[in-house]
């Protein structure tokens, strides 16, 4: 092995060791060395959020499919009630979980730790699950649901 290669190889190894050891060099002593994993309550809440998003997404899809003529008015009337009840249920269960509400994150507050994010109120009230809606005649087939947007509650 040439001397240059030896020196470069040793330097490479030393640099790698330094970087690998960096977390311990930065924080030699820590009070809490546990991984920042969600607690059981947070896991449950994550599940509820997924359930909510899914229910609201299903509502939006139903609206869109109805507008696009992919389902009949009868099918729409049959399906909208259970879906709204499911969405309302998911929202209520989420609402019943205190101090763990969804929090908006912007470009500025997206950081290494999410604990600094400020809570915000629920975006919209849940729908009235007691009143089954009768869909208005819709002439406009589009726009399709924007899956990238946050789901919204259908307005009564």
């Amino acid at each position: 092995m040439s001397l240059v290669a030896l020196v470069l190889g040793v330097a490479l190894a030393a640099g790698a060791v330094l970087l690998v050891a960096l977390p311990f060099l930065r924080e030699p002593e820590v009070a809490d060395d546990r991984l920042d994993a969600p607690t059981a309550a947070e896991e449950e809440r994550l599940g509820l959020i997924e359930e909510r998003d899914r229910a609201l997404g299903a509502l939006k899809e139903l609206e869109f499919d109805h507008r696009a003529g992919k389902i009949t008015d009868d099918d729409y009337r049959r399906d909208i009630g259970p879906l709204r009840r499911a969405a309302a249920g998911a929202l209520r269960r989420l609402d019943d979980t205190p101090d763990l509400h969804p929090q908006p994150v912007t470009e500025t507050n997206r950081g290494e730790t999410m604990s600094e994010i400020q809570p915000v109120p629920e975006p919209t009230p849940p729908p009235d699950e007691g009143t089954l809606p009768i869909p208005d005649p819709v002439t406009e087939p589009y726009p399709p649901p924007d899956e990238a947007d946050l789901p919204t509650i259908p307005q009564e």
């Binding site: 490479l12 997924e50 099918d75 999410m114 947007d149």
Partner: protein
């Protein structure tokens, strides 16, 4: 400098092993600093592999023949771009490229998700470390690109057929695809290991899967075009085991991209999605095993080498690991809902999945059949083109039809009446085009006619969806930018339609004629008359060129040349076909001149007329565009992910 490359690989191996062992221990014992340390080791593994790759690249460009690898795959006359492409032209170099992409992808995926999915990433690191350890070990101990020798005066050179611009891009594309499938696999395994089987791993890896799938698909089309213009047998896909090795994981990944949408919307098919991710990854490694072990005969495979057994062991171990993980976590993968109707979009996706996986496994059986017969009967028996063509038609045509039905059918359930209403227009368009095709004489091939009719149906559904949307939003750009994934998917569907039309046109309606010709004689082929004008030897520094010159009359008038090159270093022949493209018809006149006798002026010539074949290459560009639309970063989606994960991280 070979020592530096070797040292860098040893450092990569050590770091990967550290990421595997220490990362696994840190995740299992919930130790933050140790997990970060393992994560850094993965980052550093990329850095050290990059140094190793740079050493080899410099050696290739400088023609440093003291490197055995450089001497075996290049020579002094090789242009720089092909000297660089020799990086992946040989066994050891391509393995180094694999490790480089793997550690690079891994470092990037971990870095991008280190904040939001910290608990999940802690388990992803050891999985990626495990895969990297295997490749680094093979490079250090079994197939090193840094073995040295006393430098010879010149190298052996690169195989002539690899001295083609397509070979500069095709293999890296395939590797980006193969290796890219490691990322969704690592996140899926991480989700199972951590017990966090919610949707986060899917959201985090959606674009990685799409990107890997895009590279794999586009890489295959580049390879097909290379075979078409360079190998010179008149086709673009031969169901060669190594070609199939790239197709199988692509089909599995296609199934996953569809079924994952059902999990996102309905919370269903969690086990199925895990199986698909693992299947796609295992098939990609299995494909590598096929290419490198020498167990199957293929023009694409590397020379037989001892690394085959290492790869086989890795495939077996990682498959067992995947199966054990899924079985262990089955209780967490239970579906929350069930399929509500056989007439729903999710049901159509499920049918599509079954067909895709069935096609993939059927191809797998065809690929391993020679190995199985060798093992159990003592003689290797291969499966030919009719087998693959039969299953391509049996599964491919229904898939094409489902591709049209899927976008039109509602989620959850739909009535027959509503379905009939939305299908009416596209079905009418398909029927009309079918009748027109029969009138035009396309009824000679039933599969071709069905493929064209189904293609018309799919195109009609896409156009209906796009026109409706554009009318409502006022602009196509606004429509697509609001839901890139959906409309990018439609563009990809259009690409598949073009591909189907191109394949059906060139295979079902093509013509082929073979003749022995002497100078001055003519032959007629499907609207063309070719007259052999003579035989010439164009000047070439690296090879002796022999060309038969034909005067062509008919739908196109001009001159076309075909023949072969006899290269000096390495001393290998290369067939050089003559292709004239009629872009208006997307048709090729394809001339293969063989056994050229310069003294007597006698040649054997095969002339193919391949209608619509160029739609296949156009499909590649459309596919690439649609994939890019679908995976283009969306800031709103990122915000949605952050918002969703915020409570879990608070």
């Amino acid at each position: 400098m070979a020592d530096l490359g070797r040292a860098a690989l040893v450092v990569s191996l050590g770091l990967s092993l550290y990421a595997l062992a220490v990362g696994g221990y840190a995740a299992a014992t919930n130790r933050r600093r140790l997990a970060f340390s393992a994560r850094n080791a993965l980052f550093c593994a990329f850095g050290s592999t990059l140094i190793a790759a740079a050493v080899l690249a410099v050696a290739l460009v400088r023609h440093d023949f003291s490197f055995q690898y450089v001497a075996a795959h290049t020579n002094r006359t090789l242009p720089t771009q092909y000297a660089l492409s020799a990086f992946w032209g040989g066994q050891e170099g391509s393995l180094l490229l694999w490790l480089l992409i793997l550690t690079g992808y891994g470092a990037l995926a971990v870095a991008l998700n280190r904040t939001l999915l910290r608990d999940l990433v802690a388990w992803v690191v050891p999985v990626l470390g495990g895969i990297a350890t295997f490749f680094a070990f093979v490079l250090v101990a079994v197939a090193s690109p840094f073995d040295t020798q006393t430098a010879p005066v010149d190298g052996a050179g690169l195989t002539p057929s690899l001295q083609n611009p397509y070979m500069v891009a095709h293999p890296p594309m395939l590797y980006l695809g193969y290796v890219g499938l490691s990322i969704p696999f690592a996140f899926a395994a991480g989700a199972l290991l951590s017990g966090r089987t919610d949707e986060r791993w899917i959201v985090a890896t959606r674009r990685w899967t799409l990107a890997a799938w895009m590279f794999l698909g586009f890489g295959q089309l580049l390879g097909s075009h290379w075979a078409y213009v360079e190998v010179g047998w008149g086709g673009y896909y031969a169901w060669d085991p190594v070609e199939n090795a790239a197709l199988m994981p692509w089909l599995a990944a296609t199934a996953f991209l569809h079924s994952v949408m059902i999990q996102e919307r309905k919370g269903m098919l969690k086990v199925w999605n895990m199986v698909l991710v693992a299947l796609a990854f295992e098939l990609s490694v299995f494909g590598t095993f096929l290419t490198r072990s020498g167990v199957v005969n293929s023009i694409h495979s590397f020379a037989k080498s001892p690394i085959g057994s290492w790869f086989l062991a890795f495939v077996v171990i990682s498959s067992l690991f995947s199966v054990a993980l899924i079985l262990w976590r089955l209780p967490l993968l239970k579906a929350r809902t069930k399929l509500e109707s056989a007439l729903s979009r999710e049901a159509v996706f499920l049918y599509n999945n079954l067909l895709l996986v069935a096609l993939s496994l059927t191809i797998l059986w065809g690929v391993i059949f020679p190995i199985v017969t060798q093992l159990f009967k003592g003689e290797s028996r291969t499966i030919g083109r009719p087998y693959y063509d039969f299953f391509l038609r049996s599964f491919g045509l229904p898939l094409l039809l489902l591709m049209g039905i899927g976008p039109l059918i509602a989620w959850r359930r739909t009535s027959v009446r509503a379905l009939a209403r939305v299908l009416a227009l596209p079905a009418a368009a398909a029927l009309a085009s079918g009748v027109l095709l029969v009138v035009a004489g396309a009824g000679s091939s039933r599969p071709g006619l069905i493929a064209y009719t189904f293609s018309s149906f799919v195109l009609a559904t896409i156009i209906v969806e796009l026109v409706r949307g554009t009318r409502a939003t006022g602009s196509l750009f606004a429509l697509v930018s609001r839901n890139r994934r959906r409309y990018g998917g439609y563009v990809v569907h259009a690409a598949v339609v073009l591909l189907a039309i191109g394949i059906a046109g060139s295979s079902a309606y093509g013509s082929s004629t073979e003749r022995r010709l002497t100078t001055g004689e003519s032959m007629k082929v499907n609207g063309y008359t070719l007259t052999l004008r003579g035989i010439v030897h164009p000047p070439n520094q690296n090879a002796t060129e022999t060309r038969a010159v034909f005067d062509v009359h008919g739908r196109w008038n001009g001159t076309i040349m075909s023949g072969d090159n006899q290269y000096r270093n390495p001393p290998e022949p290369s067939r050089e076909v003559g292709i004239k493209t009629d872009w208006l018809r997307a048709e090729d006149l394809y001339v293969i001149a063989d056994d050229i006798n310069t003294k007597t002026g006698v040649i054997y010539v095969k002339v193919l007329v391949k209608p619509l074949v160029n739609l296949i290459w156009i499909a590649g560009i459309v596919f690439l565009f649609g994939s890019l639309v679908a995976l283009w970063p969306d800031a709103r989606e990122q915000r949605r992910l952050v918002t969703r994960l915020a409570p879990a991280r608070a």
